[in-house]
Structures are given as structure tokens and as C-alpha cells.
């Protein structure tokens, strides 16, 4: 039981990491390898506000979210749209976006190094135990988990029930038909990308309350996010959440019952198994 709860807490963290990428890849069709850097940047911002002004990361996210939204919107409009326009097919866009965003991740690391230096950074926020059912857990992790639940719930409801959300979903299913029913594809894709970036940065701000980060730490998060998004099925919010929780539980099970040295190996093994048996992901649609 204990293990399951720790696993779910970790899974909540993972869903924060992966949710943004899912929007960016599933809807805007950009496989964003600079996703982890956006997360670290969000963490940096939270750290900055906390240490300089003693502002809680839970408040900082309201600054981080619009800022990241604006930055990512610009990135999409200026940098990525030319690639979308140029691409003859989806495959080419994938290759181009992987390479372009990989380059951007380098630029992001370079900029963060220049502004913040290469030091590790972390701070102490809610690093106190809470007791749930007789077991102790870190309060900051529980808070991040609850925030993840709230964010995922809002996002899911918005995508499922609201009109703009619906158009995003239509876009993720078929950009061509979306255009036919009068959806401004380019604008919606930009919004999806920006929203994805904002969620990622918020995730970073929350995660920074319990993880030690540095300017070069982003790539590890990108990899985790990729694994989760692919496992859950591209473009499927529900799938991402379940894949994230599954990954968290599996990693914790392996760490507690087998050997902590195998947690990452287990994560990749799980990923490979899912790919082999359900290449479209747990909840993905079969490619036509």
C-alpha cells in the first residue's frame, strides 16, 4: 500500500512532466526535445522568486504560466511554423522538429548557463513529513501531486467539454478535416504548443520544490516525458496520466522490492514492452 502511494506520488510528478509534451506533440505535431529545458527554466524562476522574495512556488506558478505561454507561442510562431509549412509530410516534420528543438534545447541550456551559472540549485519548501494512513510522505511531493491532479482535471475537462478544447482534439485526430470544418489550424496549433509549454514550466516550478536541478538537467526530463507520452498514446491526455502513474508505480515497486539500481532500466524496459505490443500506446488510436 505504502509502495503504491509513493508510486502514485511519483507518477503525479511524471504526469506534470509529460502533460505539456503531449499537447505539443499530440496536437501541434512538434516533437519538442527542448521540453525539459522549459521545465528547468520554470524551476529556476520558482527558485529565484523563493530565495529572493520568499514567494511560494504555489504563487509563482501564476507568473510562470502566462510567461511560458507567451514565450512558447512566440517560439511556435517564429521558429516552428516555417518547418510546418515546409514539411511535405508528417515524417519530414517529425525529423525537422526533432532536430530544430534539439538545437533549441542547446540554446536554452546556453542561455540558462549565462544567466544563472552552472551551479546546482534547490531550496527548502514544505520539506516536512505528512502522515497518511500511518505512513509518512514529503509534504512538497503531496502538494505537487495535488497540483498535478488539479491541472490534469482542468485540462481534461477543458479539452473534452469546451469548444476550443474540442477544436484542439479535432486537430490532434486529423488536421485536414479540422481545416475543413473551419478551424484555424495554425492558430490552434500555436495555442496548443504554448499551453503545453506553460504546463511544463508550471510542472518545473512545482518539481523544483523537491528536486535538485541545474542548467544541464533538462534532458533527463525530456526523456522521461517522451517515454510517458509514447506509452500513453500520442495526443491522449487520459493515456498520459495513466502511463505516468503506471511508470511511477512500476519504478517504486522495482526500487522497493527488487533493487533501486534497476529503476531506470525498468522504466525503459516497460517502455520497450509497451512499444512492442501496443505500438500506438496504451490508449492511442491505431494508425490508419
Amino acid at each position: 500500500m505504502d509502495i503504491i502511494i509513493i508510486g502514485l506520488l511519483l507518477g503525479g510528478t511524471y504526469s506534470l512532466i509529460a502533460m505539456g509534451l503531449n499537447l505539443q506533440y499530440g496536437v501541434a505535431r512538434i516533437m519538442n526535445l527542448a521540453n525539459g529545458e522549459m521545465l528547468v527554466a520554470g524551476g529556476f524562476t520558482a527558485f529565484w522568486f523563493y530565495t529572493a522574495g520568499n514567494i511560494s512556488p504555489l504563487l509563482t506558478i501564476f507568473i510562470v504560466a502566462p510567461l511560458a505561454f507567451a514565450i512558447n507561442w512566440l517560439i511556435y510562431r517564429i521558429m516552428l511554423e516555417p518547418l510546418v509549412r515546409r514539411a511535405k509530410n508528417r515524417g519530414q516534420l517529425e525529423v525537422d522538429s526533432i532536430l530544430a528543438t534539439f538545437g533549441m534545447s542547446f540554446i536554452a541550456v546556453g542561455l540558462m548557463l549565462a544567466f544563472f551559472g552552472g551551479d546546482y540549485f534547490n531550496y527548502s519548501f514544505l520539506a516536512v513529513p505528512v502522515t497518511l494512513m500511518g505512513e509518512t510522505y514529503a509534504q512538497n511531493r503531496v502538494v505537487a501531486f495535488l497540483a498535478a491532479v488539479v491541472i490534469c482535471a482542468i485540462l481534461y475537462a477543458w479539452i473534452t467539454f469546451s469548444r476550443p478544447g474540442l477544436s484542439l482534439r479535432a486537430l490532434s485526430v486529423s488536421p485536414e478535416s479540422a481545416r475543413l470544418v473551419g478551424i484555424n489550424v495554425r492558430q490552434r496549433a500555436a495555442i496548443a504548443f504554448a499551453l503545453g509549454g506553460a504546463i511544463t514550466a508550471v510542472g518545473g516550478a512545482l518539481i523544483s520544490s523537491f528536486l535538485t536541478l541545474d542548467a544541464s538537467a533538462g534532458v533527463a526530463f525530456t526523456l522521461k516525458a517522451l517515454i510517458i507520452v509514447i506509452m500513453g498514446g500520442v495526443g491522449d491526455v487520459r493515456g498520459t496520466i495513466i502511463a505516468a502513474l503506471l511508470l511511477g508505480v512500476v519504478e517504486t515497486l522495482v526500487a522497493s522490492l527488487i533493487d533501486p539500481g534497476l529503476t531506470l532500466a525498468a522504466a525503459y524496459a516497460l517502455f520497450i514492452l509497451v512499444l512492442l505490443f501496443r505500438p500506438q500506446g496504451l490508449f492511442g488510436r491505431k494508425p490508419t
Binding site: 530544430a100 540554446i107 526523456l223 509514447i230 533493487d259 532500466a265 517502455f271
Partner: protein
């Protein structure tokens, strides 16, 4: 087999180039030689990568996995086995791993294959680390008497072999099959080509070569640990260099490797505090402005000048 006049000309040119390049340790400075090793290493990796990815359009990010496998083969065996046998063994292991991965995943398409290959290097790295921890094995010290010149010559020899293999594949039934697969996989399947087999074979070549490169370079690094041997950056560098050059010609990657290495060298020599930043900018410039690679540019220029002269 018979060669056409143009091919004989090509062979002679290649032989001269090989002589000039191969003799670098005898006339170049040590610094030039260390640059030469980097160029030779990426030439081998990028050319063998393009052998597979050029015709199939599969972007493999598994280079680091094969490379690391090779360095570990040398690291574990250099005290008990002759070096040349380790290089061959690394090649065999690389081919086996590639075959396994290929059989399992080459039916996946596009991005799944990309992410899978990226995860592969990470998985192997984690398993090796864990194995080391279980056995109490530390980082491996590969203390040998090889000079930079020796290693360079070995890489040049490997590069020549890769070019030869690539050339032979281009002339063979396999090469023909691959070109059809690249154009349209459905057509290829209908015309009786075993597409899966062709792809796996090529992936094995590419994996074997990357593993051999790792095996050759292990003595240069002296100290081998998983984080260094399996660095994911290597996979990306190979991809970008190959794309910069152009993957549709055998000689394409090399015209990408040389300028890219020199640019990187200039950047790290002149902007030590902004290396990552500048690498990123160079990356973007390549993706946005030279999407078809230098080979594409050269051919464009050539066809343009030909049409000029005809007019």
C-alpha cells in the same frame, strides 16, 4: 564485375585521397591529428548511419548504444585478447544487437523507432551500470601503448571499409531493393522485395560499424564508464552531421562531418563559455537553411552550372 571508365576514375581518385588522408600522422602536427581522429570517427559513424537511414528514412538514435558497446568490449577484454580480435568481436556484438533491435522494431514506423533507439542506449547504460554495481566492477582503465597515430590509421582503415561496403551495396541487389523501399515501401513489398530483411541487414551493418568505432577509440579515452561511453549527445551529433552533408550520396556525410567538426572546434576554442549556445545556433542554421545538406547544394550548383554551359 566490370567497371566503367567513370568508376575507374573514381577508384583512382579515392585511392589518392586515401593516401593523402592516411599519411596524416607522418606530416601533420599532433593537433591536426587529434582533429583528424574526430573527423575520422564521425566520418565512419555518419557514413554508416546514412547507409541505413538514407534509403530507409528511419532516424536511428542508437549510435551511442553501439558505440558504448564497442568501448566496453575493448575495456573488458584488452588485457586478455589481442586488440584486432576485440574490434571484430565488437563488430559482431553490434551486428547481433542491431539484428535484435531491427527485428523487434523496424516494423514500427517513424517516431516510435526514433524514441525506441534513443531509449536503447539509456537502457543498456543502466544495465551495465547495474551489472558493475553487482560485481563491484569499477570504471575500466584501458592503458595501452597505442598512439593517436595508430588509432587514427585504424579509423581511416575502417572508414575505407565502410565506403567500400557502401559502394558495393549500392551496386548490389540489396541496394536496388533499398532504393525502391525508400521511394515507396508498398511498391517494394509488391514487387517481391523482403523489405524487413533488407532493412535489418543494413541496420546490422550500421550497428557493427559504430561498435567497431567504439572499440577502436576506447584506448584513447583510457578510462571508461557508462555515463561517458553511452552519452546520448553522440547519437545526435552523428545525425546532424550526416544530414548536414546529405544522406542520399555515399560521400554526403563526409562533406557534413568536416565543416561541422571545424565549426565546433572554432566555437569551443573561441567561446568556451558559450559552447552549448553556439552549437545550438549552428544546429538551427543547418535545419532551417541547409535542409538538403551540402551534398544537395553541391548537386544543385553542379546541375545549374551544367545547364548554364549548355545554354
Amino acid at each position: 564485375m566490370s567497371l566503367t571508365g567513370k568508376e575507374i576514375q573514381g577508384v583512382i581518385l579515392a585511392a589518392i585521397a586515401l593516401l593523402v588522408v592516411g599519411a596524416l600522422p607522418y606530416y601533420g602536427s599532433d593537433y591536426l591529428l587529434s582533429l583528424g581522429i574526430t573527423i575520422a570517427m564521425f566520418t565512419v559513424l555518419a557514413t554508416s548511419w546514412a547507409l541505413f537511414s538514407g534509403p530507409t528514412h528511419y532516424i536511428s538514435l542508437a549510435t551511442a548504444a553501439f558505440f558504448g558497446l564497442g568501448t566496453y568490449t575493448t575495456g573488458l577484454g584488452f588485457e586478455s585478447l589481442p586488440f584486432w580480435s576485440l574490434v571484430l568481436m565488437a563488430g559482431a556484438l553490434g551486428a547481433v544487437l542491431a539484428a535484435l533491435v531491427g527485428l523487434a522494431t523496424l516494423r514500427l514506423s517513424g517516431v516510435y523507432f526514433v524514441i525506441f533507439t534513443l531509449g536503447l542506449a539509456e537502457l543498456i547504460r543502466q544495465l551495465i551500470t547495474w551489472g558493475q554495481n553487482m560485481t563491484g566492477q569499477k570504471g575500466l582503465y584501458v592503458l595501452t601503448d597505442f598512439t593517436e597515430g595508430n588509432l587514427y590509421m585504424m579509423l581511416v582503415a575502417l572508414a575505407s571499409a565502410v565506403f567500400l561496403v557502401g559502394w558495393l551495396i549500392g551496386r548490389s541487389r540489396l541496394g536496388f531493393a533499398l532504393r525502391i523501399i525508400g521511394d515507396d515501401e508498398t511498391v517494394a513489398a509488391h514487387s517481391g522485395i523482403n523489405t524487413a530483411q533488407a532493412k535489418v541487414l543494413l541496420f546490422m551493418v550500421s550497428g557493427a560499424v559504430a561498435a567497431m568505432t567504439g572499440a577502436i577509440l576506447a584506448p584513447r579515452y583510457v578510462y571508461i564508464e557508462p555515463a561517458l561511453a553511452f552519452t546520448p549527445l553522440l547519437s545526435f551529433q552523428v545525425v546532424i552531421m550526416a544530414l548536414l552533408g546529405g544522406v542520399h550520396r555515399l560521400w554526403g556525410p563526409i562533406v557534413g562531418v568536416i565543416p561541422f567538426t571545424l565549426i565546433l572546434e572554432t566555437i569551443s576554442a573561441n567561446f568556451p563559455n558559450q559552447v552549448t549556445l553556439f552549437i545550438g545556433i549552428v544546429f538551427l542554421i543547418i535545419v532551417y537553411f541547409i535542409p538538403r545538406g551540402f551534398a544537395g547544394l553541391i548537386e544543385q550548383a553542379r546541375s545549374w552550372s551544367q545547364s548554364e554551359s549548355m545554354a
